[in-house]
Point group: C2
Chain length 443, copies 2
């Protein structure tokens, strides 16, 4: 049935998750309609163009499925929903300035989907939401708008995306999917669909809230463990102990899993996910203190990098005020063209607030405007006449920085602060820099 | 040289780590003198008897090496130290009531070792201590008592034990060892010795404090991750989500490592190790908040079990006051005969404080006196006429509990609180019990 194009799927939200998901469903033979509220996003897809050049294989796949009309794009959510058996919702769920989950896109989408929903369809939520959001927020909206009853007239399930930006097509075909549906029949239908399309195993859990809890638990595991690594780093710096030496030695114990410290945690997931769970905790009077503290530790790491910059500049007799600072790497992680909640933004803003002149280089964003700066075309242009180099993202090319060459083009004696453990401290010092690194003792 | 018995080793402290360590060094051919301050411990070893019946293979090994005079035991630390090239210190490092590291045994041992130390010997610290303790506490004592200089006249190294009680002989021959010495020559000598004796790989780190940081980091990773699991459990109980279902589903993600919630964390290591690092942090004005909070969460779990007991008894119309409570399992983990800092002690004391009559059964402690109670000889004797069963330790036999049978010998309708996820909730309820489990929603 899938191969014959008789399975009709609407994917709502053509962002970093929705777009490859739509493409992969189309490749498997489904007739897919991609929906977005942004006309430019729809137009780009209609042309078969890909907005995510950093997703390997996606451009080729999109060109193919759009050309074969397996995937079409529209602004018209109503038509897409009313003509589809499966409606997959992939809209963003950020947090606002006060760290409160912002479900406005999910709510707005649920209203629109509900208004167009036909009996027998199944709505699948891939967006990351707090446990209970599908049952207590999305379900009532869908039922009220459609006049239908979930579990009886239409299906409803959570199948949270589990992909890693920059590697999404690979993840889609290898990471098992977790499905929590409103009843067994609906769960079975969604499982069959995802297994057939993605070729991955499917883990059925009791209900949507359990599936959403799984998604948050696995991401918070990472956030908390990075925070723990950062806590060790802050302490070991003071004790003159090299955190990387410690963590790598720990890695030889059978039950230890290495996580590394750094300049902070960014991106669309980890900086927000904790707050979805904290919000649900607050409703029950049960605050996840550890998760909240971990988030605060990770959020403070950019400030620590600024402290290291100040220390390192001090060592060469300079102040942050008036210093020219070359910020190498601003994306929230290597190899993605994405500055969403990048901790490097805070580093940039704080240094400028202290009177530094910041120059940015990032190989993923050449010549673009980032944090109010035009990104330089090469590392040399950024480092030229700099008083301090700060490594904000571990892009592969930074491992090959020619330190002796750079030390000749900086402004006299300069500082280098490595926020991502990209460079060997001894080599940096040998090249003449005053070195600081997150988690590295000054001994 | 090892095989010829020309390597002379003193092992100070014949506890759960020191005793198997001494035996394994003796088996490898070293002439080992075991030293303890407790005459009974020395006498037991002299007879070739083993105090740790729960350590597989240890009794046989001790009988053999004692019979062959490869391992001798003495109270006389001075003679043992002055006649040995390697002095391995395995004395306990607990925390006191105020959670302050109690290094008194390490200090006393260091004084005694220093007074008897000969030029050319190497002192190896296996005891878990805070980073800096070897450099700033042990080294000065050894130097002052001996009149010798570390790194010049004698060697000094940390080689923290990394074994898991109940599995120590296995761990000794499989878990790599981390060695941080006072200089390269000493590190090399210790590495050669441990590689030859244990047949494991050795990771050399910069200095003793780095080795001690490794030991603490790997244990705190576990403590913090168990605390995180407990935090999820407390929240998911309120949200009606099964924490085990969540964690097991998370386990299908490539970068997630399952840790499980429970009635608390006990034993000689995890409940204390955080405080060694916190103490060092306090000295630098850098408190590891996350590690401290994790410890507090784990320390509170016994109170949560008491809450669940109260809830479950309430469901069958009973109060804790006057209830007969069968506590199944009191050791700090399965298969060890060890109640050191077992969280079950707190559960027992709190329930008794509330007026319950507690009866204890533990297959590792049959007929012994524990927490002021004589341990029953079988589960049935404990459960007979009980109003509530509490599972405190996941001993293998508890997975086979005959619930229908037990429900007939309890006092009317009874409660069952599973602190260790040993039983299937539905099966417990089907047998007629009011069920509660850590991390299990009541819905």
């Amino acid at each position: 049935m899938l191969k014959e194009g008789r399975v009709k799927v609407a994917v709502i939200g053509l962002g970093r998750i929705g777009l490859p998901t739509a493409a992969v469903f189309a490749r498997a033979g489904a007739a897919v309609t991609g929906v977005d509220i942004n006309p430019q996003v729809v137009e780009t897809l209609q042309e078969g163009s890909c907005r995510f050049a950093d997703e390997p294989g996606l451009q080729e796949l999109l060109s193919d499925v759009v050309k074969r009309r397996k995937l079409v794009a529209t602004l018209d959510l109503g038509i897409a929903v009313s003509s589809s058996q499966f409606i997959i919702i992939c809209v963003p769920t950020p947090v606002d300035q006060t760290k409160t989950p912002d479900y406005s896109a999910v709510k707005k989408t649920s209203h629109a989907v509900g208004a167009a929903l036909r009996e027998g369809s199944i709505v699948i939520i891939e967006s990351t939401v707090g446990p209970g959001t599908v049952e207590n927020l999305i379900r009532p909206i869908l039922e009220e708008e459609s006049g239908l009853t979930a579990g009886q007239d239409f299906g409803l399930a959570s199948c949270p995306e589990r992909s890693d930006p920059g590697n999404i097509l690979e993840n889609l075909k290898s990471v098992p999917r977790v499905i929590g549906a409103i009843n067994g029949q609906c769960g079975e239908a969604v499982a069959v669909l995802y297994e057939a399309v993605l070729g991955v195993s499917v883990i059925g859990v009791k209900d949507p809230k359990t599936a959403n809890a799984v998604k948050l638990t696995e991401n918070l595991f990472r956030d908390v463990n990075v925070a723990l690594a950062n806590e060790f780093a802050l302490l070991f710096e003071k004790l003159g102990i090299d955190t990387y030496e410690v963590i790598n030695a720990c890695g030889t114990k059978y039950n230890f899993v290495p996580h590394y410290p750094g300049a902070g945690v960014g991106g669309p997931c980890l900086p927000s996910n904790s707050y979805y769970l904290i919000a649900e905790g607050l409703k029950t009077g049960n605050i996840p203190y550890l998760i909240r503290l971990a988030r605060e530790i990770n959020d403070r790491m950019p400030d620590h990098v600024v402290e290291l910059v100040s220390e390192a500049l001090n060592e060469v007799g300079k102040t942050v005020k008036g210093a020219r600072i070359a910020l190498l790497g601003v994306t929230y992680k290597p190899n993605v063209r994405d500055i969403q909640l990048s901790p490097v933004q805070k580093i940039c803003e704080r240094l400028e607030g202290m009177g530094a002149r910041v120059v940015i280089y990032d190989p993923m964003l050449l010549d673009e405007e980032v944090f109010g700066h035009r990104v330089e075309r090469c590392a040399d242009d950024a480092v030229d006449s700099a008083d301090c180099i700060v490594i904000g993202t571990a892009h592969p090319e930074f491992y090959q920085l020619q330190l002796r060459h750079l030390s000749r083009i900086v402004n006299g004696r300069a500082a280098l602060v490595d926020g991502r453990n990209v460079l060997d401290p001894a080599t940096v010092r040998d090249a003449g820099f005053a070195y600081r690194g997150v988690g590295r003792g000054t001994s």
